[in-house]
Symmetry: D2
Subunit: 302 residues, 4 copies
Amino acid sequence: MRSPRDKVIITCAVTGNLTTPEQTPHLPITPEQIADACLGAADAGAAIVHIHVRDPQTGRPSMLLDHYADVVERIRARNPELILNITTGPGGRFVPSQDDPKVAAEGTTLMPPEKRVEHIAVLRPDICTLDLNTMNSGREVVINTPGNVRRMAKVIAEAGVKPEIELFDSGDIALMHDLLADSTLKGPVLCSFVMGVRYGFQPAPETVLYARNLLPQDAEFTAIGIGKAAFTTVAQSYLAGGHVRVGLEDSVYLSRGRLARSNAEMVTKARRIVEDLGGAIATVAEARKIVGLPGHSAVSAA
Amino acid sequence: MRSPRDKVIITCAVTGNLTTPEQTPHLPITPEQIADACLGAADAGAAIVHIHVRDPQTGRPSMLLDHYADVVERIRARNPELILNITTGPGGRFVPSQDDPKVAAEGTTLMPPEKRVEHIAVLRPDICTLDLNTMNSGREVVINTPGNVRRMAKVIAEAGVKPEIELFDSGDIALMHDLLADSTLKGPVLCSFVMGVRYGFQPAPETVLYARNLLPQDAEFTAIGIGKAAFTTVAQSYLAGGHVRVGLEDSVYLSRGRLARSNAEMVTKARRIVEDLGGAIATVAEARKIVGLPGHSAVSAA
Amino acid sequence: MRSPRDKVIITCAVTGNLTTPEQTPHLPITPEQIADACLGAADAGAAIVHIHVRDPQTGRPSMLLDHYADVVERIRARNPELILNITTGPGGRFVPSQDDPKVAAEGTTLMPPEKRVEHIAVLRPDICTLDLNTMNSGREVVINTPGNVRRMAKVIAEAGVKPEIELFDSGDIALMHDLLADSTLKGPVLCSFVMGVRYGFQPAPETVLYARNLLPQDAEFTAIGIGKAAFTTVAQSYLAGGHVRVGLEDSVYLSRGRLARSNAEMVTKARRIVEDLGGAIATVAEARKIVGLPGHSAVSAA
Amino acid sequence: MRSPRDKVIITCAVTGNLTTPEQTPHLPITPEQIADACLGAADAGAAIVHIHVRDPQTGRPSMLLDHYADVVERIRARNPELILNITTGPGGRFVPSQDDPKVAAEGTTLMPPEKRVEHIAVLRPDICTLDLNTMNSGREVVINTPGNVRRMAKVIAEAGVKPEIELFDSGDIALMHDLLADSTLKGPVLCSFVMGVRYGFQPAPETVLYARNLLPQDAEFTAIGIGKAAFTTVAQSYLAGGHVRVGLEDSVYLSRGRLARSNAEMVTKARRIVEDLGGAIATVAEARKIVGLPGHSAVSAA
């Protein structure tokens, strides 16, 4: 069994892909808002910020390089050390047609894997996500085939970026082992269990322990709770020896019925939970060491 | 915690979809061979036989109604009580194109859900499978959206057939709960954990216990081990309070390096394992009661 | 799997048996101090207080009825509804002699079981503990044989007092099942896992889940963490569907290196943890209902 | 998670302490019968035999050195390589008096720890057991204090004998860790979970997994099922990565209602279960390597 870690990394996922401006007025949308949210989260104790971008006009998810670059530049100008973790999730959705499910319907975003990591190759953040899931995700289907994941991992590795492996169910862990076995990934891996998506891992202490016991011994992991499981999962992840993540990507509530007014407020609460349970928050420098990143951000030198 | 059951149902999955004639010369292919395999399995102790059909010429998987009808008729002529469980799995594969993954490539079989259960509506077997998985399955993708599963379940319910819910990872169990909650399914459910497919549940005692603890209290379950996990899973399923399944669909080996010469031989071994561990094999009549089927086969009356 | 409860009972164990005045200057010792500690804990959110008494002169554990009566009276005078849970733990220690271990050495307190519950028969508190452990406890041995436990349970039942079953390792749960089976105990049981005593249950999320899954379905449970596990166990117990307990009996620290200044301070922290994780604290009235106690304290009517 | 081992050691516990001649006419009693039972078990596949002795007249447990020496000599004469594991369990029972539980009543066998290992110092078998339990055992109490266990371990270590650590509940594993930490024991430890004694570990797949996960990574373990759990535990132990043990010490039945006619018959069944699940039985030479014993028995040289 693993004990809780002495130093716990808080990641803040400030805006994500699925949260909508209709759900909360506090969602950061413009590059400036997203950068400010990241910096506020860092001030509250986050050592890693996880970044998606949005169309400033519509608030809808975007994959535009310019937006990513804008966010990165704004953060780097004010906090050159903060660990930047940029998504590669968009571009994986497939919506089967009602009449003929093998034909993509409106809403499909599924694209060639190399397209999904173009911004990573250019921006070279410290970390980027790599989703291993093919699953039902609400009414849509997410498709990440082993072949396409390998193609994305190749680009990521060539960019010198550390992948954070996102695991949505137990089979994804089996794929991660295969990717380690054929050297697509280099250990020790940094990975996350996303818990609470319909239909993947469901949040419970049992799930965190079961999933953790499937990992390689040297893996660093974070259990992420979606929706109302956001803060229970902070405790579960910490108690099982993991790191923690919160943010408006994962949940819009700070507590039952009360919207979080900012990402920083969510980080503050996650920090209090960890500290109440005897943990200490990792500084950015400590987090870089835990994750195996260089002491300085590669991006900051750009 | 659950104790082992007093009476354990053996299901034999005699041919399946993925096993190839190249893997074993003992694979039943023609309707006559498939029916004989079922009857032999029943003689060895199987109370349920799980049926796919194949093209008699090529040995490749088929969905032809005539083949299903032929198999059913041959079995019913000689063993009118045996519980027949017919697959609805075929028709769910999607192969993303290399260049443009949202476009279906060769090998795709994904079809409208009603098509996949046409033979069920006609033949009305005791049981048919209902797969809840959307996942990577080898190099291919299997797509069973919640919406399409509901459409299949509707046809199955109208045909008066008991669905056996096939669960390939933990998220599928969450979907099953939602299908129970909206009355798409009626409990107590009969379900299976398919363990060992790349990339779903991986076989281990922990997996059986974890998955079982996610089920409704009144569910009947079977853990199925694919490949080399076939017989270890027999023991794990029994020890965790479940039923068991073996057959050439799941594995071609009887033991390391030794091909099973028949489905009956696999049933005989599964039975020995269960009996060595203190269990007793359910007769067909006992199995009908456990599963909640009428005492006589609906099909036999046809 | 069980979800966290909506309403969580906090028990405060204000002084106990093993904590010494040398460990902390904040330990309540006199009946007045113990009563004040209970009332302060109640004000902070505890619905149940767990009471031992001490010799006011020496601070050492006592079993004197007068001290118990004094504490009870002082609490009842100011808070007639608070749920009183009085220990029956003292009187169970056996210290084997070095030369001849079957002969009791100095430090042995083991006494006839009826003696250990005399104060319960007289004072009739709402709840009293009933320890099911025979174990190594530090250098001493605690002996609670099944026969003697039954004798204590008989007195407790005749006094109309609800026993709280203290479970120190998994075998104690098996004994509890036997006591339920022969009607020595009446369900639903109220029970606790004491985790962190050398040599019993060791604190970990796995332990709470394993032990909980051994309980009858309708049992109410609290996982109690001794020493540095005090507050991690609050979270684990809550997350696994249990209630929580803290107090100077279990730990003298509020956080690493910082002594708790009062029992109330510990309750306040436990409450914050539970509320941060989405729970709500049970009032005394709610706790009476959960535990199955009459609406009014039997003692208060005396 | 651990996979099953390639090579599995079968231990046969041929007569034990608690089984009575009234329970089965097949119990070996005289040194000659006990030696014959060991040799028969070895022929059937056991690499280790676990030995108690009995009074040849009464069939009751004995601790007489002459009997042990007689058994060892008889075995060594015919099978010099077989691994001999001799008990040190007797001498640990304490029966509290009804009136005054701190006074030992009839039936008490508790004696100074050095007395309990005198035969080990003289005979120097390959292995001897070392019980870490203080617990209720039926109506009696077993007392093995940490201090007394250390005294026994010292004698065992000086005799050059490998201890097999017997663990009856989870707290015993915590004690084992402390004994490793202070070098009373040298790793890798060889240990056993005794499951099914009232009141210790209760047999279930969950128990084997929970207990195994508490062990040091390099430990070799065997889960032992007492009574009707004998053969289910063979499968559970194997599936969880452990070795197996059977014999008339643990159970008198081969299957429900059918007495085992010999220890060899029980070994044969355990072997079949392991082989049916894909395992192979360790030869004596392989078992010596796994356990860390010299290639030749120290005793055989005497």
